[in-house]
Symmetry: C2
Subunit: 292 residues, 2 copies
């Protein structure tokens, strides 16, 4: 088991516990039971909890113990990720009735409820960050600015908009590859960057170190998505799905993976240099998952 | 023209200008033009801009001049209100092709885009508050906590959930009236309360004064919704729509309006007592619109 797998094994259950507890807290005593059920169902969709775990891994990498407040900061990322999945699966969007082997939220509770569940989850993420108790107001504002920008009209949601455009596209392969690169950045890497940054902002790191974290997580996010394409290469080809890997070719995609790994490692080396308390082992171990 | 009508005439254009400018700022230089168009279309839907105007009216009532930063704080409320209208109109929700005489966002750009426009508008509201420059970080966190709670799983979105339940209801008129009362509170009054509170938090008022503002805006929100029912009384009856007014009867509804007006005026009197700089004229004038 890698160091990150051990870390995930320890903290995934705590993240899940908190997600469940936060629903009760945010809906209030008088909320209809079925409403709490829907929100819990959406948040506890089977998954790796990669975004909160990345935020927590950053905190752990600086030798900080992980308390309830840190978990709450990290789960805010899962509230946003969960909302995006619920809305993605809607009939008006990807129309997926299943998500990781169980009924998607709209298939289970109807599309109107799924719209509202997603909307409430997004608002809840900001409530969680505003309600932290162990960090300064300045840190909370920085975390909220990060999350709202990386998730919003110039971040994750824009990634979805660009992705929709792709479905309608054009034969110009170079332009399409550029768009896909942007889609991957916005749709996947932006929220992973937010996770790493929120971990760093929780610790009160300076702008230079936050820059290294953003570089690391940006490269990691793209790696993560490209590796996903590589894994699905034959299946996508059979189904006629055009991924970035199909556009640029296998060789160039593997070169890109090597390049991005170097970029991520360089960012970690920068952190080692600028922060004496930083231990790169755990974040290096996240990287090593890719392609393993 | 009442004092509030004059105030609205002065500040509505500035609010609209800011809404437009903020879209460009929040989407970034490279955003597709059509994406900026969609967001602008949603934000500039014809309307009174009541929520930002209420926040600004609170600021003005304390003798503070209204600068760009105050307008930005106030427009955050319109970003949330606009997102809720875009999602309400979706085919999966109310399926309205028109909103105030023009095509709704989904009718204009398709339902997938409408989901994404709403999602981006909600995130943008929190970016706007996090990006204020003239208030302390503590004030920004307080405003963000207010907006996320009043708009979220125990606020405006819960109002929608309860409202959906109503459509499916039951013959128990008393219970239904209680639910409607809660629907009105959550669906309409909560965001108006957020508007008044955000105005007060922008000024840095103490908890006691914020409590008076919340009481005022809560009563005003219910008044606003009940007056709407009274205005539509005959039309609703003809169309078989069951409003609170139909449930409790015209006489009792008019009693309720009187009661709520007294409640709102009492809250303003409380503010006059606790804040020497507070002039109740403008907020009293908002109240006088109701039923006029």
């Amino acid at each position: 088991m890698t160091k990150f797998q051990e870390f995930a094994k320890e903290y995934q259950p705590r993240v899940n516990q908190d997600l469940q507890a936060e629903v009760l807290e945010q809906t209030g005593q008088q909320a209809p039971k079925v409403w709490q059920e829907m929100l819990t169902y959406a948040l506890l969709t089977p998954g790796k909890r990669l975004r909160p775990l990345l935020a927590l891994a950053v905190i752990d990498s600086f030798g900080q113990s992980i308390d309830e407040d840190a978990i709450q900061a990290a789960t805010a990322l899962e509230w946003v990720h969960a909302y995006s999945l619920v809305h993605d699966d809607l009939p008006a969007m990807d129309n997926d009735a299943y998500r990781r082997g169980q009924l998607s939220v709209h298939a289970m509770y109807g599309p109107a409820s799924a719209v509202l569940v997603g909307d409430a989850l997004q608002a809840g993420a900001f409530s969680l960050l505003a309600g932290l108790t162990e960090v300064s107001a300045e840190q909370k504002v920085a975390m909220i600015a990060t999350l709202s920008q990386k998730a919003g009209a110039n971040g994750m949601v824009l990634g979805q908009v660009l992705d929709m455009d792709n479905h309608a596209v054009n034969e110009d392969k170079v332009a399409l590859a550029a768009v896909l690169d942007q889609v991957y950045q916005k749709k996947t890497a932006d929220l992973l960057q937010a996770a790493a940054l929120i971990g760093g902002q929780y610790l009160g790191l300076n702008q230079k170190s936050l820059g290294h974290l953003a570089d690391f997580a940006g490269a990691f996010g793209l790696l993560f998505q490209i590796q996903d394409d590589l894994d699905d290469y034959d299946q996508d080809a059979a189904e006629g799905v055009v991924s970035l890997v199909h556009l640029v070719g296998l060789d160039q995609a593997q070169d890109l993976v090597m390049q991005l790994k170097i970029q991520a490692e360089t960012a970690l080396a920068g952190l080692v240099e600028s922060e004496v308390s930083f231990d790169p082992e755990l974040l290096t171990s996240i990287l090593s998952q890719i392609g393993a």
